[in-house]
């Protein structure tokens, strides 16, 4: 992939995340815990050692520590052991079961969520490391009665069979479309290259992604009859 394209993406991501709004959110978190800036900002201790000063090494655990995560626009306080991954925190501590844990080692994409707008595999990140970032899960993208265009495109193209890989697929596609509103087939394939589907939905996923992109741009989806 040529470098300039990557740069372009970064630029778009930065622009899209209205900077002022981001700073505001960070300030809100800071004032809430009254500590230094993220990522160590979200921590409050279950066992009361004082929050380390900025720059000092931070020690968590081994017991559960209370941390604050920003998930789907809301601040959520949870007590987790430091070994708990973001995927486990979302599922077991926040009851957000849409994110699936399938391989638990970054090999399948089923646990894909958005971290500050970028797709990440939540099984490869500790919950504590997600402090100070904006996390969006499949539940934050849409609901059955108000689906995100990517979600409705998945339903229309039958880009889901057993459906277990689907939340991760949807998140990968949604992240692609937010940074590249007009992807070609190759870009779609690369965006979901890390999402494994045992039911073999890929062809319909590609179709859904292109249809959703067209719909979000307000043009006719590719291949649709007049």
């Amino acid at each position: 992939m040529p470098d300039n394209r990557d740069d372009g993406q970064r630029t778009r991501v930065f622009t899209r995340r209205a900077f002022i709004k981001g700073a505001g959110a960070a300030a809100a978190i800071t004032s809430f815990i009254g500590g230094p800036t993220p990522p160590s900002a979200g921590v409050t201790r279950a066992q009361s050692s004082p929050t380390p000063a900025s720059g000092a090494a931070e020690r968590l655990g081994p017991d559960a520590a209370t941390i604050v995560l920003t998930v789907n626009g809301k601040s959520r306080k949870i007590a987790v052991e430091p070994r708990v991954t973001l995927a486990e925190a979302l599922r077991d501590h926040l009851g957000l079961h849409g994110t699936k844990l399938v391989c638990d080692r970054g090999a399948c994409g089923a646990c894909t969520v958005h971290l500050d707008g970028n797709p990440v595999v939540a099984c490869m990140m500790l919950a504590a490391d997600a402090r100070g970032h904006e996390i969006v899960t499949i539940e934050g993208l849409g609901a059955p009665d108000r689906m995100h265009p990517v979600q409705s495109a998945f339903v229309e193209a039958d880009a889901l069979q057993c459906g277990f890989c689907t939340p991760g697929m949807v998140m990968s596609v949604a992240a692609l479309l937010s940074r590249n509103p007009a992807p070609d087939m190759g870009e779609v394939k690369r965006a979901v290259a890390g999402n494994i589907c045992r039911c073999g939905t890929y062809p319909h996923v590609f179709k859904a992604a292109l249809a959703a992109a067209a719909k979000m741009r307000g043009v006719k989806p590719p291949g649709e009859r007049a």
Binding site: G98, R105, A110, M147, D158, Q161, G163, F164, A193, F206
Partner: protein, 733 residues
Amino acid sequence: MARNVTVRLGFEGNISDVRLVIPDDEPTPWQWGEPLAVVGREMARVDGALKATGTAPYTYDVELPGMLYGAILRSPYPHARVRSVDLSAARRLRGVRAAIERGEAVVRFAGQEVAAVAAVSPAIANDALALIKVDYEPLPFVIDMEDAQKPSAPRVFAGRANIGAPAVFEAGNVRDGFERAAAIHQAVYTTPVQTHVSLETHGAVARWEGDQLTVWCSTQGIFTVRDDLAVLFNLPPDKVHVITAFLGGGFGSKFGAGPEVVIAAQLARAAGAPVKLMLPRAAEHVATGNRPNSWQQVKLGAGRDGQLVAIELLERGSGGIGGGAGSAGPYRTLYRCANIRTEERDIYTNAGPSSPMRAPGWPQGCFALELAMDELARKLKLDRLELRRRNNANPVRALEFELGAKVFNWHEKSRAPKALGHRRRGIGVAAAAWHGLGSAGPQAQAIAYRDGRVVIQIGTQDIGTGTRSILAMVAAEELGVPLRQVSAEIGDTRYLFSVPSGGSSTAPSNTPAVRQAAAHLKDKLLRIAAPMLGADPASLEARDGTIRVRGQPSRAVSFADVCRSIPADSLCAQGERPPNYAGFRTDQAGCQFAEVEVDVETGAVAVLNVTAVHDAGRIINPLTARSQVNGGVIMGIGFALFEERRLDPISGVMVNPTMDDYKLAGPLDTPEITALFVEVANGVTNTGVLGLGEAVHVATAAAIACAVYDAIGVPVRSLPITPDKVLAAVGKV
């Protein structure tokens, strides 16, 4: 109480009137050219939104108040005596609520269940496993199928040979056949152990309330799980309630109550709290089933005209400590031949047990037979498609070959140059067969409510094919109402009985029961409508959301108005799936064409496109049917090129029980897939639906292997066709 009906059955260019004897209360089977309003249309699946938004509740997502998490300790040895298990330290760990022994005196594969714990968090459960002390006495083991057949090999089961009894099929006399042959081809073909890799692993959530056991289970057979647990815990079946609202894949590995389900229920009872036990990925690879490997010595003989005169197969396959490895099905089915002999034997090894996997035995057999057919064609200097046509045993497949060749551009591609630099193009074709006819057993309930809604209830489950949608479509068709008015409720043993979802039986077993239930409900609604219309119920029909006098569309009353006149809260009828009728044909033909590109410098194989042509009887929903074709083909690509369970010869342990080391086909491996259906009105049931899930997987690996042979001129007779094998074949290594 039966009646005779005459129906038009068959397929394009081959239609005839067939007399069927059907039960009195059974709707007449849909026939050729039957005008249907809902069935046959592309419909988005009714539960799609739940899946796309992550709100569909899988077993994996069930959370109950006070729920504990279970974990299983597995043997690190492929064969060992379990001298003792000490659970005391594990029990003492803070947060542990129960610990149990499996109680096996001998373990026979690395990964077999030895003990289990339940704790307040998954992490503590895992910590507790490390505290269990097991005294093993390691025993000699054998994991290699060839080694296992040697007289000196360690016995997998004491007092039983590692080589199972032969299963022999014989027609005619192959020796005579080979004597008359103008060309003979003989070679050995092998396929690896493949694992199912359902994305949702095996597991269950178990809860006891007194002697009532409720189990949320990731299963393809809720009633099988119910019955297994009832026997194990000595309960009447109605004391066991099994729920599978959504299932994250099964592919044949999830029938019955496996060890993890039983253990979840045992732990829940021991702890006095609900227990959730979902397997980690490694255990899923190792212990929950697999497609056995195969060693196939194939011998084919043909006359100068290409007519097969003898087919012989000597087969060995190992499903570890399980059996059922046979792969002779295609040899006995795909081609017409007077002299056929197949011999299959299971070989036992110290490895995880096999379980049915998407068309058990068939992709293996099809790969070897079809690649052998190509090698025979080369000897005979015959076009490979032509050789298949001349021996083809099924008239539907003859049409499929023709259709597929046209769409795939077989003849044009045959003439295209093969080499482009270090890349070689090749094409292949393979025949498929299956028997997705379904069976008697399912019972459905159809309920109309006074607000005009119709609910179908049946104890089947959706393995991902869109079962709720097709059942609702069939009921909507019968009742003449739009699909949105009908919903289907499944996945619960409190509904009426249905069969497990395997053998491509879900659609063909359940749709006839649902159609019959809807027809009986319709009869009752017509009786309510008759006085409203001043007509005889027998003269009425349900169409376009109305109930009306046949032939007089203006004498109509709306379906909603009839429902409003239901005297009670609801109106209810049942249907039962009768055994299959003789029908038109009972086998299910298919074929697939594949084009590949082989890089002879790197050995990498890319599948460029696949054309899949299949008989699915009557297609209820072409959209979801195409999804199944994509799935079968893509899983076939994995089998052809990537997937292989590897066991370490020294420790007997699986070395790739992950999703990075065990490779599945991913988005970048996906070719252009064209699905074509040859509609066959088969009259086997009142809907004529055939299951599709397995038929569409049988021929893919074979077609790819044939295409690779065409591309590089050398057959790779061992799956998966990995770069090292390709480079060896072209003499580069």
